[in-house]
Amino acid sequence: MFVILILLMILMIAGAVVAIQSKDLLSAVICMGIVGFGLTLVFLILQAPDLAIVQIVVETLTLIILIAAILKTTMKESKVKKSAVVVYSGIATVILLIILAFILGDAFKGLPDFGCPDLRMSEYYIEQGLKKTGAANLVASVILDFRAYDTLGEATVLFTAVMGILAVLRRKGRKE
């Protein structure tokens, strides 16, 4: 299991790199699809079927939205001239990222080991979730009962985004 997980993650990283580097926007979007569907498999391995279902449909939808946007506009990424500024800023960014990688890697050593989480809050959810809420799907019991307030916020975020999209896509913002 562990080996498959690591292989999947390496595939996802490769997909992400190709997605960011590719010259053609459509292939970039499809490479992003590799990352997203890889994530679905990772969720399945990690015993999270709920997340896998949501991720696979959301990923499909994201791809549809992105591809629809690209088909309406352009597929080519315009060329970057290799000026000195571009090269130097690129090198600086890479150095910054390497430093960040070391900091993150170092700090992550202080986390609990993979596979043995600290169940301070969720012990109760696991033991009493079914009894207290009646929902056999413990994730559903968490999102819709213990932490339903979060879910209201989440639904509101989606509502806000739709309102925002309607606002942004209006033909005319100001009256004449």
Binding site: P112, P117, R120, G153, E154, G164, R170, R174, K175
Partner: protein, 502 residues
């Protein structure tokens, strides 16, 4: 049932009402255009009444869903209102009411007003949610509600530059959210809980461990981006001027405080705990914000852009006060936060009135507006003097306290810097007054009229607050408004026991 348990039931209403209003407006917009005006204004009036009725109550803790703690570990989401939240709630809802009143006339120039009101109410709900939340992830969710509403409000005019500003703002905002979420995950992984007070209890003696230090930095970057602290400020001078004027007032006056400074201060002071290195770093950032903001503002000839740069600089003052970590400093910082929200919103509303009357916000194209727009001219003079720290307006008192606090804690250099920035702010605003309101009337501005009543009324109200808010420092008012907030920060870790024992 004693009185405190009755008032705690009012807490969720502060989020529920604006949300319900937003949904109702979308459902009922077909019936009449007027109905959205009525619903939005009515709800915000109710919110203001609610907030003021909650004033002077003790620390309130509300457990959503009635999930009581098990073996002392909270399992549900908590809503907490202590002194600091109360101060922020007052700022948010009052400024929202004034801006909303201003919008009634101002937004007639834009299409689809119900959509505007919906987004506005969602933004208020998001900010109220952030300020009252006692749960780390819940805070993140409501932060996103407020942020997404503000992204789309910035682009509400749908002109090219507005869309561009909104995109820039949103990319930075989303990256900031990613950093914040990473911090939340690390905290959850280390502590196994999300309740702020409970996290504080678990982390009591772990402040110097590597993951926690990393989290502090991640939160600094994330909330710094949201609150436009200096190295992360790039989006603000584009986004704030691009929004419609009442929204600029909300963004500059409230949003960067509620989802930037408040969230960072709450987490660092009350939950994780501040190390001296961190507070010194924050002092550096605030000094840089203060001085660089004012220098950049100097070069601007766009009215709203100039104001946006001054927001960065004034937020530097607020942070300088708070991160001195002395009683006087925190008092000054919080008081300046209150004052800044009033005078900066007023200035943005003034700029909106100027744009409404003349259609331009370039300083060089304006002039002599005092003859044609007396109310706008007068109120903007009050606000300018207030932001520059001229006595007897409110900005003077808070700046004075901050400078005194700097001297008291032997940061003479910072004190000198604060005085210098104050003088430069004065110069910068004299320039605004000279180019916009004084001087000869330009030929093109001959038929400019004063703005409609609702806009004038909001500006006069804020100008009145500017002149009188110095009185909040008098005994009596001080204990009611500012002292609880100061105490909430000073006795940082007391928050944990206060919340967990309720």
């Amino acid at each position: 049932m004693n009185s405190s348990s009755v008032t705690q039931y009012l807490l969720p209403l502060l989020v529920v009402l604006p949300l319900g209003g937003a949904f109702l407006i979308q459902l009922s917009k077909k019936i009449s255009g007027l109905i959205s005006d009525i619903i939005a204004n009515f709800i915000v009036v109710v919110l203001v009444v609610l907030v003021f009725s909650l004033l002077n109550s003790p620390v309130l803790v509300y457990k959503v869903g009635g999930w009581m703690p098990v073996k002392g570990i909270p399992i549900g989401i908590y809503l907490v209102s202590d002194g600091l939240s109360m101060l922020l709630l007052i700022i948010i809802n009052t400024i929202a009411l004034v801006s909303l009143f201003f919008s009634i006339s101002y937004m007639k120039r834009f299409t689809n007003k119900p959509l505007y009101y919906t987004l506005f109410l969602l933004m208020i709900a998001g900010m109220n949610g952030v300020v009252m939340s006692g749960d780390l992830f819940n805070m993140y969710v409501f932060l996103e509600v407020a942020a997404i509403a503000s992204y789309s409000l910035v682009a509400f005019g749908t002109e090219a530059d507005e869309l561009e500003a909104s995109f820039k703002y949103q990319v930075m905002g989303t990256a900031a959210s990613a950093f914040i979420l990473l911090g939340i995950i690390i905290i959850y992984s280390v502590t196994g809980t999300l309740n702020l007070a409970d996290i504080g209890r678990v982390l009591k003696d772990k402040v110097t461990e590597a993951p926690i230090i990393l989290t502090g930095i991640l939160f600094l970057v994330g909330f710094g981006l949201k609150g436009a602290m200096m190295p992360f400020h790039a989006w603000l001078p584009d986004a704030h001027p691009s929004a419609p004027a009442p929204i600029s007032a909300m963004l500059s006056g409230v949003l960067i405080k509620a989802i930037g400074i408040y969230a960072l201060v709450r987490i660092m002071f009350n939950v994780i705990g501040v190390t001296p290195i961190f507070s010194n770093m924050m002092l550096c950032i605030s000094a840089i914000s203060m001085i660089a903001g004012v220098f950049l503002a100097f070069a601007q000839w766009d009215f709203k852009r100039l104001l946006a740069y001054h927001s960065i600089s004034q937020m530097g003052y607020v942070m300088l006060g708070i991160w001195l970590m002395t009683p006087l400093g925190i008092l000054g910082g919080l008081f300046h936060m209150l004052n800044h929200s009033v005078f900066k919103s007023l200035l943005f509303l003034n700029s909106g009135a100027v744009v409404y009357g003349t259609g331009s916000r370039q300083l060089k194209r304006l002039g002599g507006l005092n003859q044609k727009m007396p109310v706008t001219g007068c109120t903007s003079f009050v606000a300018s003097m207030s932001i520059a720290g001229v006595p007897p307006f409110n900005g003077f008192w808070s700046k004075l306290i901050i400078i005194m606090a700097c001297i008291q804690s032997h940061h003479f250099f910072l004190a000198g810097l604060a005085v210098l920035v104050s003088i430069m702010t004065l110069v910068s605003f004299l320039k605004v007054q000279r180019y916009v309101f004084f001087g000869g009337l330009k030929q093109a501005l001959k038929d400019v009229k004063e703005v409609p009543f609702t806009m004038c009324f909001s500006m006069i109200l804020l100008a009145f607050l500017c002149t009188t808010m110095g009185a909040l420092l008098l005994p009596g008012a001080k204990e009611l408004f500012i002292d609880p907030a100061v105490n909430a920060l000073l006795n940082g870790k007391e928050y944990i026991s206060l919340v967990l024992n309720k």
